[in-house]
Structure formats: structure tokens, C-alpha cells
Amino acid sequence: MSLPLLELEKVTIKFGGLTAVAELDLKVGEGELIGLIGPNGAGKTTAFNLITGVYQPTSGDITFAGQPTGGVKPHILSCRGISRTFQNIRLFASMSVFDNVRTAMQGNRAQRVRDALWRGATFRESEARVEHEAMELLKIFNLDRFYEADGKSLPYGDQRRLEIVRALATQPKLLLLDEPAAGMNPTEKEQLMELIRFVQDKFKIAVLLVEHDMKVVMGICQRINVLDYGRKIAEGTPDEIRCNPKVIAAYLGTEDDDA
């Protein structure tokens, strides 16, 4: 059993009097596709924010690729290989589709102010490479014909795909997807499932998926973690989770709750 790519150990975060996440243990191995589900307000996005460094845990440890992430800023974690999409799509509104992807190709390039000013051969080569790679990426996801359009002018489903492309442009080892199927119709959801499997396969990355649509989650995840009120209440394969009484209770309530 190799070391997990991402490991959360007893991670807790409190906002004033509210404990949003309590003693969460979570593991994601390299190349795995793990699900994170739970009723609204269970703390899933908070967990994402903890992993990406937007929030700092009140207690507990998070380790990524063998290094602790405590106190590390989000942009540095991005360079280390964690990337994400957002629950409410956060594209760069004043940029074109192409630029949205290009912008994400930052940290791993030798691009500095002086190169941009001098505009010598190194700069031109580097820019050409970036352009080529960005277009390739867009082509894979069938977004290349929109490359000049405003990100915001794309249909909703395409915007979500663009956000995923952008996240992939940072060449991550771990991709966090926050409710990517939200607002999609059944056909689009099928395509999304294909897409995620494809991404995982082609780019050899681990994926941690937060999602409400059970079909999607059960359909592609290898293992699923269930949160309720900030605590993990179950973990297992889709089949195990489907029948777990605690999970059912969390979503549907028990018989006594009807009063």
C-alpha cells in the first residue's frame, strides 16, 4: 500500500462557535477517484477549502504528496499539484476562453517581467508553446472553436467544462471537483461522467469529487466518503454506501423525524 497522495488526519475547523468540519479523516491515493457526499451544509466545500489552503484547520493535519499543507498559501499548493473547480463557477469574466486556460499555465513557466518586456526569442518560444498546449487542451474538450469568445457567453455546461480545462492546465496531480454536475440535464451528466473518467485516465490524476447527483457519484467513484454536520459518518464502495442505514438516515431522516 503506497503512501496516499492526499491525507487528512482528524482535521477540524471552527468558525467562532460553529464547527464546520470535525475530526475528518480522508485519504486519496494516486490516480484514485474518490467521492465526497453529504446533505447540504455538511461541510464538503469547507473540506475543499481546507485542502486548497483557503482555510486553515483549527486542528489536525493535511498532507499532500508527502508535505504538510498547514499555513501554505493556495497559489503555492496549486504549484505543488492541487487544482480545483468551484461550486459557483468562477471563470475569469473579462477574459476569453483561450485566455482563461492560458492564465492557468503560470507557475511552471519561466516567465518574468523582463522576458515580457524584451520579447526576445525565449519569450516568443515560451508563448508559442503555451498557446499550442492551451489549444490542444481545448481541442480535447471540444472547446477550441470558442477560443476567442467571452468565457461568460458559453452555455452553462460548456462553462463548467471550461473550468475543468482551466484546472487541468495547471498540470495537477489532484483535481478537486465541486458539484460539476449542478444544473446539468441527464445527457450532459452522462457526458460529464465520461469526461471525468477520461480525464483521470489520460492525465493520470487523482480526483476528489463533491456531488449531489447520486447517479454520477455511484457511477464513477471507486470509494465514497459521507459527511453529515461536519463529521464523516461512512466510507466505502458505492454498493456499501447505498445500503448504509446511517447514510440513508442523514439524507432522508428517520421515521421519527416526520413529526
Binding site: 485566455d99 492564465t103 503560470q106
Partner: protein, 308 residues
């Protein structure tokens, strides 16, 4: 435009210098206004990097201008006479550069603490810093206190002003139109998403501030050697607002629009000479009208694309 940017720049500088050498045949008054326009272009484009592209709200740009102006002027006043005539242009260039660098340091000092603030608060802090700089110059005997510096040599010509204007435009446009430079716009659009994509928002904001301040400092130096008198009063928050209005009028983030706006807003007061007493009243009404009707600026049409 690919690969031709440097040639354009050299061409522009050559044109500026050429016109300048032949400027004897132009009307003095118009020439003076042309120099003003050049200086305002530098101010507007440099502020545009901070406010427009990076989306930070700086209301203290005049402070950086003051720093550059006073530094350069003090240098030429103290040492100017001991420089042999053949070296005068290099000396002037060095003075301007020094002004720019000191202003850039100012940009660092202001930028680093301020940049974790958002919106309103950042605006107020930059305003405060601008005013503090003004107060410092007003109470500093070294820089002439309230009277300021007088008797500055008229070293700024059309050539100098417009050559630097070309350089400023080149620098800002080149930086922004690169993969690295898209980071500024990312910070403007969505800091959180930008962080998640590997962009360090603080670093970009501070860089924008420092570069913006540097050019404001150069503009200040050019201004000092054009007006020949430098009073701290002239660099108050109203001056900062004047530059901000140019950036807004031009459509925040549009370099071409901002240049046009700078030209228009420099020439307009001259055209309004006849109604000088109403000048500022009209100006303030213009600001209000602009915000009510077209806050995106006068020069934005169609879709927003990458900045040219």
C-alpha cells in the same frame, strides 16, 4: 503585431525626438499643451495598470507623482549647474530615473500593507497615503515646505515627454499581453480563482503598484521641469481624482481608450479657458454624469476581449 512591438517603440521614440528637434516652428502654447498631454498619458496608463488591469483602487497616484517630481527637481537644482552642457540630457535622464525609482519604493511602501484590503477600504488607505506624502513635502524644509521648489530648469521637451509616454505604453501593454501578464487581469476578475490557478495575488498587486508608481514618478519629474515650479498643494487628492477620471473615462483596462481619454481630458480644460470659473464645476458634473450613464467608460464597444 507579433514581434514588431520593439520596432514600434523605437519608431515612436524617434518620431517624438524628431518632432521635438523641429519644434521651434510650432506655437509655444500648443507645444506646452502637447507636453501636458504626454505627461498625462504616462500618468493615466500607469494608473491603468493598477486600477484598470489589476482592479485595485488607488486614489493616491498624485502622491507618487510628487515623490518623483520633487526628487528629480531637487537633484537638478542642486547639481544641475555643475554638469557640463554635453552631459545635460544624460543628467536629466538620470534625474528622471531617480525620481521614478524613489517613487517605486514609495509604491512598495504603500502597496505591501494596503493590498490585503478590498474596495472602499483600499481606496481610503491609498487616499490617506497620498495625503501623507503631500503633508510630508509641505512640512519638509529640504523640499521647500509650503512654497515648494522654484526656479527649476525647463528641461522637459516634447521629445522627452512623448518618448517616455511611448515607453510607458510599451511597458504596460507588453507586460499585460503575455501569459504572465494575464495574471494581473485574473487578480482583477477573481482573486480566489486566480490563487487556485497558481497566481500569487499579493505579488501581482504589489508589482502593479510598483510599476505604476515608477512611471508616475517619471511623469512627476517631467512635470516639474515643464512647469518650473513645484508646490505640494498641486499634488492633492483632487489631482489623483483627475487621473482616476481619465482611467475610468477610457474604460478601465483599455490602454487605447485610456490614452484617448488622457488626450481629451488634457485638451478640454484649455478649450474651456473661456469659462474658467466654471471649469471645476463642469468637471465634477462630468464625473457624476459619467458614472450615472456610462461607468464602463466612453471607449468600450462590443465584446470585451484581450487588452490591446
Amino acid at each position: 503585431m507579433r514581434g514588431k512591438e520593439k520596432s514600434f517603440l523605437l519608431l515612436a521614440i524617434a518620431a517624438a525626438v524628431g518632432l521635438s528637434l523641429g519644434s521651434g516652428m510650432f506655437n509655444r502654447y500648443y507645444l506646452g499643451i502637447a507636453v501636458d498631454v504626454g505627461i498625462n498619458i504616462i500618468l493615466a496608463v500607469s494608473l491603468n495598470l493598477i486600477n484598470g488591469h489589476t482592479g485595485q483602487f488607488s486614489l493616491g497616484h498624485a502622491g507618487f507623482m510628487a515623490v518623483g517630481g520633487f526628487t528629480a527637481a531637487k537633484l537638478t537644482l542642486t547639481c544641475g549647474s555643475s554638469v557640463p552642457p554635453a552631459f545635460q540630457p544624460f543628467f536629466f535622464f538620470a534625474a528622471l530615473l531617480l525620481g521614478g525609482i524613489v517613487a517605486a519604493v514609495g509604491g512598495l511602501v504603500v502597496g505591501v500593507p494596503s493590498l490585503r484590503l478590498r474596495g472602499d477600504y483600499l481606496a481610503i488607505v491609498t487616499l490617506g497615503f497620498g495625503e501623507i506624502i503631500r503633508v510630508i513635502f509641505q512640512t519638509s524644509e529640504f523640499f521647500g515646505a509650503a512654497t515648494g521648489l522654484t526656479g527649476i530648469s525647463k528641461l522637459t521637451t516634447f521629445g522627452w515627454a512623448w518618448a517616455f509616454a511611448a515607453i510607458t505604453v510599451y511597458v504596460v501593454a507588453c507586460i499585460v499581453n503575455s501569459t504572465y501578464g494575464r495574471g494581473f487581469i485574473a487578480v482583477h476578475d477573481d482573486e480566489i480563482a486566480a490563487s487556485a490557478m497558481g497566481i500569487n495575488p499579493t505579488r501581482y498587486k504589489v508589482t502593479a503598484f510598483v510599476i505604476g508608481a515608477f512611471f508616475a514618478g517619471i511623469a512627476g519629474g517631467l512635470y516639474a521641469h515643464h512647469k518650473l515650479v513645484l508646490k505640494p498643494d498641486g499634488f492633492d487628492f483632487v489631482k489623483s481624482i483627475e487621473i482616476v477620471v481619465m482611467v475610468i473615462l477610457g474604460g478601465m483596462g483599455r490602454t487605447a481608450g485610456v490614452i484617448l481619454a488622457a488626450i481629451i481630458l488634457t485638451i478640454l480644460p484649455e478649450l474651456l479657458r473661456g469659462v474658467a470659473e466654471y471649469r471645476m464645476i463642469i468637471y465634477s458634473l462630468l464625473i457624476i454624469a459619467l458614472m450615472l450613464t456610462r461607468p464602463q467608460g466612453l471607449f468600450t464597444f462590443g465584446k470585451k476581449g484581450p487588452v490591446k
